[in-house]
Symmetry: C2
DNA sequence: TCAAAAAGCGACATCAGTGTCTTTTTATTA
DNA sequence: TAATAAAAAGACACTGATGTCGCTTTTTGA
């Protein structure tokens, strides 16, 4: 499967992703993407009819990957694995799409993101409730704690694009959440 | 003081602020602002030479107001007052400039925002350390806790622009922080 | 009350990005 | 290797935003 064109589309998405991470959504033009990929305008338009289309495909890839995890381990193991993933994501701010995502969302794609957010919250709540049931986690309000985890993370990724990054910031995130959930 | 032009400039900033809150920074054009204010292009340019200039003046006003608080009360009182302010800010998402700010920052104005962020963190750390010294707050890592408070808030304001707002979200924020700092 | 200054208007040239269309190049395979 | 299809190029007309400039209206204060 995947005709000849697949390679080129992949290359386009890959370069476009870098641009979106650098500049946000609105600041990226089709011509920018041409430049990065080495394609001409005509060539590029053969594959994608606009930055919105490219971006939405990138997001689908992105979130497909994010939903793949989950195994049948203890709540504690899942938590630690999850936090480690987030920690590394926080570290390479060059790859963060957060600004682009918020721009794109507030340009009329709110519902899509509402779903993503609701899904993420639900997954966290499940994990927390499960961990509390097995006694691995301290008792907390699952809804409240999920929001803390999610919003704290969002804020972190957002600002880390922009401000000089303090070394412990990512560690703080992880250890805060562990402190709130696990006995020392 | 404040010549005749002052009124008009105020009106411009006021309307522009609404637009920035609605659409973010890049999506707002000088023509948009003309429309809202009822001025013509020529008229508007007499006062401001571009959206960047307007936005930066708005920010100065904004942060001047934010730094004005602080009194000589107990740490607990200051905390509660601060949190109440944040809570109400979270509630009226229409007025949130967060998206615009991040766009503007990542368009080459990083250092300005690095300062704002550093200032906010320093103020929180002072408060926390003071509260711990007087025994009003539980012992916490002041740096870690300040980052939690700030990033959580940022994430919250950001997303609340975009997703259906759950009623308790603002309360969660306040109560999480109180739980972490005050004895029940 | 009337002249000068301030405020406001809108046409203009310009620019950067868009999306389309025709032509050229490159691959494919009969 | 010639015929055909797919991919890529780049010229074109168009759009929407910019910033400027000369003109008109309003305000003001001598």
């Amino acid at each position: 499967m995947g005709g000849k064109g697949t390679k080129t589309k992949e290359k386009i998405r890959q370069q476009a992703r870098r641009l979106f991470a650098e500049k946000g959504f609105q600041a990226v033009t089709m011509s920018d993407i041409c430049e990065r990929t080495g394609l001409s305008r005509g060539g590029l338009y053969r594959y994608y009819s606009g930055t919105g289309q490219i971006f939405s495909e990138i997001l689908v890839e992105e979130y497909a990957a994010a939903n793949k995890m989950e195994g049948e381990s203890s709540a504690r193991t899942v938590l630690e694995h999850l936090l480690e993933t987030l920690r590394t994501e926080i570290m390479d701010k060059e790859r963060s799409l957060s600004l682009a995502i918020y721009e794109y969302a507030s340009l009329g794609n709110e519902t899509f993101f509402a779903e993503i957010h609701a899904g993420a919250k639900k997954r966290w709540m499940h994990l927390l409730e499960y961990g509390m049931k097995t006694g691995e986690f301290k008792p907390v309000d699952a809804g409240q704690m999920s929001e803390l985890i999610l919003y704290y993370y969002q804020g972190l990724r957002m600002w880390s694009r922009v401000i000089p990054f303090e070394k412990q910031t990512a560690e703080y995130y992880v250890s805060t959440i562990k402190q709130m959930l696990l006995e020392e």
